[in-house]
Symmetry: C2
Subunit: 105 residues, 2 copies
């Protein structure tokens, strides 16, 4: 996502999680979900980092876009597997980005 | 930060960054800022993960609390060093958390 585009207001979904020790299918599904999200209308960008905790922030044009992504059949299937197998716990936060500032060296 | 507390609405500051190769003083200052933030009025919690990109999300009761933290003299000094030495680029986004959902195994 380029640093100063888009201009606020837009939406962010902050997904923080801790994984179980079950790895079966996780990396493939995570990569597939990342690729699939980028094809959704209203998708603006995503940033994802994992150590013990993982933080993924995705950016969206509207609540409708977030809702359509949440309800995408393939994503619903992944969410179900996430609860069954891959995550010890997670929190999803839906936010309005009101202001931003960037620095580039 | 416990998963379902506080209840929205509250504020999140999403800080995404890429580091330079300069390490001098970085880890100490990062740890100090984390400790100092927790002493600020209106601080609710923080989550921080770094690979190549770093994502730190801090949570706050109000815009006033965020502003007071941004202007804390020791934090201002750290921000200046960050721009001078430690960061290749960064973006700070100020957000209102409108909704959240948690899962615990």
């Amino acid at each position: 996502m380029s640093l100063n585009k888009p201009e606020p207001p837009y939406y962010a979904v902050i997904f923080t999680s801790t994984r179980t020790e079950v790895d079966t299918g996780y990396a493939e599904t995570a990569a597939r979900m990342l690729a699939l999200a980028q094809t959704m209308p209203g998708f603006l960008g995503v940033e994802s980092v994992r150590e013990e905790t993982g933080i993924t922030v995705s950016y969206w044009e509207s609540l409708e876009a977030i809702r359509a992504w949440r309800l995408h059949p393939e994503h619903l299937k992944a969410q179900k597997l996430g609860r069954k197998e891959w995550y010890e716990n997670f929190t999803t936060r839906i936010c309005v980005v009101e202001k931003q500032n960037s620095f580039v060296r």
